[in-house]
């Protein structure tokens, strides 16, 4: 059997080239945000927005995680606040312990003289860094395994995640003697490597760290979703039973992707905590976790860029609207939920991909695109496979 591999090879070099171009664009945007945005915002006299941008970018990391499980795999988690807060608490506990040998201040208020056992490992930085990813991921994996193993999915899964959110909220909210309950842990007056965490120096380091981690998170999600796993995730979303009948066990993949998503939320929570100066059970509100979903929905589900854009736009809209007219924000948010779900199910990016392109084409007088099989037939790889399968 003689086959011509050159067509396949040229397609793979082309793919590599387009990947390179995409990578260059993404890195360029990241550099622009890293260096350009602070200069620009300082120039127009809105310095406080730099911190805001930094915080919203951490939320974008969490949004990437939500997109991974909801946009691609079709599991609506209403409990991502758990993982976000766990990451935040992990880092805050490390910071609270920072001048070595001292007990955090709030413990004395409740008459606790000895550090609770689970605080002990947070003396070490490497453990903390590992914990703020691994603890959320492990908890998600455990919960996910128990739920997915029984083929609990859809609305049931959403409700269970919401219930576990309430459970964690109750636990953190009521245990004053262990983690300062409702008041949460403050980080801006703690020291990190001898410098106050609230100082400009540390804040700008964390801004840069946020941009870099957002880039890395994007790359991770891009890699996950573009390969075979990505195809499998979409298949699970579209018809899980059929995936099962094809010989795959979706449980493992669902657990994996849920854990990855939780890990991302953990990182996001840690970065957010330092930049906002406090972590409290408030981030385990029911509302906050559902808001994460709406960021993704507005930007466009099953689109990583959409998730990031959605998180940034919705949060800026929220901060601006609630500064100006606080009572309108809830109406606006409610309407956002309704409109996005009923009119724009694909979000902004989804609209750009379909209706937006058609609109643009009709404006410049070109005919509409048609999705037909010829576009498949032109793909040399598909052609190659087809010929080989027939023989």
């Amino acid at each position: 059997m003689i086959t011509d591999y050159s067509a396949v090879k040229s397609s793979s070099t082309m793919r590599r080239r387009s990947l390179l171009i995409e990578g260059a664009i993404v890195v360029a945007i990241a550099l622009l945000i890293l260096f350009g945005a602070p200069i620009l915002l300082t120039a127009i006299g809105q310095e406080f927005r730099i911190n805001m941008l930094g915080r919203f970018m951490t939320l974008a990391i969490a949004a990437l995680g939500v997109d991974l499980i909801w946009g691609y795999t079709g599991m609506l988690s209403l409990g991502h606040g758990i993982f976000f807060s766990l990451g935040g608490y992990a880092l805050a506990m490390f910071l609270q312990l920072q001048p070595e040998g001292e007990l955090p201040e709030f413990f004395t208020l409740y008459g606790v003289t000895e550090l609770p056992w689970f605080w002990q490992p947070f003396h070490s930085l490497p453990f903390t860094l590992a914990a703020l990813v691994c603890i959320p991921a492990l908890i998600a994996a455990l919960l996910g395994y128990l739920v997915f193993r029984n083929r609990i999915r859809g609305v049931y899964f959403s409700i269970l995640t919401q219930a576990s959110l309430i459970v964690f909220f109750n636990f953190f909210n009521s245990q004053q003697k262990l983690i300062n309950g409702t008041n949460g842990l403050k980080t801006d007056t703690t020291k990190i490597f001898g410098v106050y965490a609230g100082s400009d120096q540390v804040q700008s380091v964390f801004y840069a760290l946020t941009v870099i981690l957002l880039l890395l998170a994007y790359m991770l999600c891009r890699w996950l979703t573009s390969g075979r796993i990505g195809k499998l995730l979409v298949a699970i979303r579209d018809d899980e039973s059929r995936v099962r009948f094809s010989g795959y066990d979706p449980t493992g993949f669902k657990v994996l992707v849920f854990a990855v998503s939780a890990g991302l939320a953990g990182i996001a929570g840690a970065l957010y905590t330092v930049q906002s100066g406090i972590i409290s059970p408030k981030t385990m509100d029911i509302a906050f976790s559902i808001e994460m979903v709406i960021w993704v929905a507005v930007g466009g589900r099953a689109s990583l860029v959409g998730a990031i854009l959605g998180a940034l736009t919705v949060n800026f809209a929220k901060s601006i609207l609630s500064e100006q007219f606080p009572e309108i924000w809830l109406f606006f948010q409610g309407a956002l939920f309704l409109v996005v779900v009923t009119v724009l199910p694909g979000g902004f990016v989804g609209w750009l991909r379909t209706e937006g392109q058609d609109l643009f084409r009709s404006l410049i007088g070109r005919p509409r695109r048609v999705m037909t099989y010829p576009s498949l037939a032109e793909d040399p790889e598909v052609e190659y496979e087809r010929q080989n399968l027939r023989n």
């Binding site: 909801w70 079709g74 609506l76 919960l143 128990l146 739920v147 193993r149 029984n150 083929r151 609990i152 859809g154 609305v155 049931y156 959403s158 409700i159 269970l160 919401q162 219930a163 576990s164 309430i166 459970v167 109750n170 636990f171 909210n173 009521s174 039973s241 029911i286 509302a287 559902i290 979903v293 709406i294 929905a297 009572e327 809830l330 109406f331 948010q333 409610g334 309407a335 956002l336 939920f337 309704l338 996005v340 779900v341 009923t342 199910p345």
Partner: protein, 386 residues
């Protein structure tokens, strides 16, 4: 020891009966349409506010009539929330059929709007909304009668929406200008409001050392009446038969000529109405605020998940079990039973407050779902997804 256990049992049952009343509507709707209504708690809240309004209206009637307001309030709460549910179903949920996760998000949006609406509703706002609805929907009805409907509908929407919104806003602000504070002052505001139970509900029966409040008994009776009513409706009436048929197999029922859309609308309205009744009951237990509904949603969802969607019995058992477990653990009523085993008693002590009890109950629910993933009484079927 036995009396404290009995006390705990009764308190648990009375918490469970509130839960059951709240979850009943949710369970029926979930069974029929596979839709979780996140605004269910807010519908309860609206029911509670309706009770508050009715109570204020009866205050002007004087003493002898005041005691009976609760019955009028129950009916009013049912009607108001049922109407709201009908609007919700016709306006939003109907378009999202077959997409349960999206429905969940949309109803969350509705719940946000309702919460803020209760806070800031005033005469200006009501008038503005009324003018907007009359103008917009009136114009759309006129347009839909025109011969070239399909062509102009899109443009008509784009033109009419801002136009009627602008007119409504202008009318509202004009009213606000003329009547000043009387028209712009919110009806309820962000503060909680208090519903005073009628005099005959404020006493209680003495059982030994234990006081059995009439309010709790009233709620228990109300729950039983609602359950029996729902049971009779579902089992004996023609529409109940249709609802059961659609719950079992939607496409088959549609083939047999059952108007599934009307069944959906009716069921949603009844489910919402039950939420209103539950809200009326809840308002007797404590003060009511815009966020009252939030306290109930997760617990009621748990009732639905544990109970399964097949039968009413599932919800009853689940609500009672969760209510009793919550109370028993929260009030530490079980620790005398295990006093011979100090470690276990210590663990129970740790969970012995209302919020930690929820933690343990949830752990028990997840454990339970390992054995019965589809709840106590699952819907039986041969479908892959069933």
């Amino acid at each position: 020891m036995l009396t404290s256990l009995l006390d705990g049992l009764f308190d648990g049952i009375s918490i469970g009966s509130v839960l059951l009343l709240a979850a009943l509507g949710l369970a029926i709707v979930f069974g029929l349409m596979g839709v979780i209504n996140m605004a269910h708690g807010e519908l309860m809240m609206i029911g509670a506010y309706t009770t508050f309004v009715v109570q204020n209206a009866f205050k002007s009637f004087g003493k002898p009539w005041f005691g009976a307001y609760i019955f009028v309030a129950l009916i009013c709460a049912f009607l108001v929330t049922a109407l709201l549910g009908l609007v919700l179903e016709r306006g939003v949920i109907r378009h999202l059929y077959g997409r349960p996760l999206e429905t969940l998000l949309a109803t969350w949006g509705v719940s946000l709007i309702l919460r803020q609406f209760v806070r800031s509703v005033s005469w200006v706002m009501v008038l503005g909304l009324g003018v907007f609805c009359v103008l917009y929907f009136g114009a759309m009805t006129i347009i839909s009668r025109m011969p070239n409907v399909e062509k102009i509908r899109g443009w008509a929407r784009i033109v009419l929406l801002p136009l009627s919104a602008g007119i409504a806003w202008a009318a509202g602000s004009m009213l606000g200008q003329t009547y000043q504070l009387a028209a712009t002052k919110p009806w309820f505001g962000a503060q909680n409001v208090d519903v005073t139970a009628p005099g005959w509900l404020r006493k209680g029966i003495k059982l030994g050392t234990y006081q059995l409040p009439y309010v709790r008994l009233f709620i228990l009776v109300l729950t039983i009446v609602c359950i029996i009513g729902m049971y009779m409706f579902l089992q004996r009436s023609a529409w109940g038969l249709r609802i059961r048929a659609v719950t079992q197999n939607r496409s088959m029922s549609a083939c047999l000529g059952i108007p599934t859309k009307r069944v959906d609308a009716l069921t949603f309205a009844i489910g919402s109405g039950l939420a209103g009744v539950a809200g009326c009951a809840v308002s007797l237990l404590g003060s009511v605020g815009p966020n009252t509904g939030q306290n109930y949603i997760v617990d009621t969802f748990m009732v639905v998940v544990v109970g399964g969607v097949g039968k009413l019995v599932g919800s009853i058992v689940a609500a009672m079990a969760i209510g009793i477990a919550n109370y028993m653990i929260g009030a530490n009523a079980l620790s005398p039973l295990v006093s011979w085993f100090p470690q276990l008693a210590g663990i129970l002590e740790f969970f012995a407050n209302a919020s930690m009890a929820k933690v343990l109950v949830f752990a028990l629910i997840v454990t339970f779902l390992q054995f019965r993933p589809a709840g106590i009484f699952p819907q039986k079927g041969r479908m892959v997804d069933a």
